[in-house]
Symmetry: C2
Subunit: 291 residues, 2 copies
DNA sequence: TCATTTATCTGACTTTAGTCAGGTATTTAT
DNA sequence: ATAAATACCTGACTAAAGTCAGATAAATGA
């Protein structure tokens, strides 16, 4: 990494630090110290029990306790013991607290909208922000098996289809591409794995099974903003593990040489090229892997 | 601006706030309060006199004074009166202070390198960071007339040429493109205007004059990361003002329809299409504007 | 059951940050 | 020459943030 690149990174850090500081100043204008405001916001964002708040905000138990007491006497929150474990406690915003939380939310949203609005093409800026967000939050990316019918899968598949349409100049239609039955993409026959950051979908891959020991890998996709971080490999590892757990011993897949990143990943991960095994219009290269 | 976009912005804010916080924690591990560390770093970055420090760090005079006293007793800085105005004072890092500043610099650089290194394609991430940096620092962008021989102009011109090569599929060579003499691009005949953020070049435009009242606009370019912010218009306004100041009454320019953003900007700013006025190979559309 | 652990709270601190009213030395304006 | 303005400093504060050693109540484990 050369110094010029590091300087660009640090210019970035400086500019966002200024922006963060300005937002905090606007919070302080509400007349409440930042510590209390942070706690109030964390509660509003759904961090309801005290120990969750403590880890989320990295606060000392004594300090947090006092801040909660403060918000309580302001009438912004109510605290009651957790019925499941009466040692721990659950906080909740009162209607007044809800109102105050909304004020903070509005301040944040307005700052965001302001910066986005002065861009002729906010999409360009947001794409850049996604790239940064994902790079900085790399540790928080999760790989989960999800229901094929869930909303996040729909998001992934439409992004997947849109990208293939663009890259395969022939266009692309999911339905002409060995489109699986629901039952083939969920337990016990198959599964669907999604890479996520919070609720932002970063990538996906499906295992399309039929109860035999041979199954197919379908719909492998990584969001453009998430590329270059090695997520595809981790996604494939997760999928292969899931296949093994379903007693699948042979995986096959089809793809297109235009998707060169995918092709070289498969080659890299021990997939072997095999003969065409279907008549789908889009693929022109086929792979197999014994698990 | 819809809520989904605002949420993406706010996810971004959250992730960078975490990163900023982590860097500050690593600073605190040096055993010095953040306030002092900030002052030390500001001095190391070249903010030498006390009033400059005060505005840069937005600190109260009393507070800054005390922080300086603290760094002095630590033996990290020395302060002496400004010989030009003995009311004001100039601070300087001692050798020990220099060392300590380097430690902070190393901490920052290492964090940056760490995040960049885990990216297969750091250029992609850095480009995204530039887009964000420029969007957030929009108010700090300056438009300056500079010497045609200066380093920043060389940077702009090579980026300009690289982009034209890519977009005009015929390729592009500065020398075949009415390449001006040095004297034509500087006072009193012409000038060269650069848009900058700090020392990052964001765009440029030249006025190529020959002592008559007619001059030519050349080399208009905006960095990809800086597009969509309306900089081209501000750049052109600056250039037209500079031309007026040089007693130029008619400006002409040539460009290519492929550069559609530029063409529509000219049309928008009151330029009128005229007949071809040179034999250069690249342009296919010509404009004129009376000042 | 009873010692131990866990989750939170309280009190008594210290440190850091921030504010503000003078005060001194120097420069500027008239 | 002298009043006003400027640049910085000091002292005397307040507020906020952070620390830490108990204390209490509830849950857990042998």
């Amino acid at each position: 990494m050369n110094q010029d690149q590091i300087n660009r990174f640090r210019n970035f850090s400086r500019s966002v630090a200024v922006e963060v500081g300005a937002l905090e100043d606007s919070f302080l204008n509400r007349g409440r110290p930042l510590g209390s405001a942070r706690v109030l916001n964390a509660i509003g964002l759904g961090h309801e029990n005290v120990s969750d708040l403590r880890t989320y905000l990295k606060l000392d138990t004594g300090l947090l306790s006092r801040l909660l007491r403060g918000l309580e006497t302001e009438g912004l929150i109510e605290t009651k013991p957790n019925p499941v474990d009466r040692r721990s406690r659950i906080t909740k915003l009162t209607p007044k607290g809800d109102q105050e939380f909304d004020v903070y939310e509005t301040l944040s949203n307005e700052r965001a909208a302001n910066i986005l609005d002065r861009h002729k093409n906010a999409r360009h800026l947001l794409d850049a922000m996604d790239v940064v967000t994902i790079a900085l939050s790399r540790e928080d990316i999760t790989f989960e098996e999800v229901q094929y019918t869930s909303e996040i899968v729909a998001k992934c598949l439409s992004a997947f289809a849109a990208e293939l349409s663009k890259r395969l100049n022939s266009g692309f239609d999911l339905e002409n591409s060995g489109d699986p039955e629901l039952s083939q993409m969920q337990h016990p026959h198959g599964t669907f794995v999604v890479a996520k950051l919070g609720d932002m979908p970063l990538g996906c891959v499906g295992i399309k099974g039929n109860g035999t020991s041979v199954a197919e890998v379908k719909r492998m996709w990584i969001a453009p903003a998430a590329r270059g971080l090695g997520l595809a490999r981790r996604l494939m590892v997760t999928a292969e593990d899931a296949a093994r757990a379903l007693s699948i011993t042979t995986l096959r897949l089809d793809t297109n040489r235009i998707l060169f990143e995918a092709v070289s990943l498969y080659q890299n991960m021990g997939w072997l090229e095999i003969d065409r095994f279907n008549d789908d219009p889009y693929p022109d290269i086929f792979f197999e892997k014994k698990l």
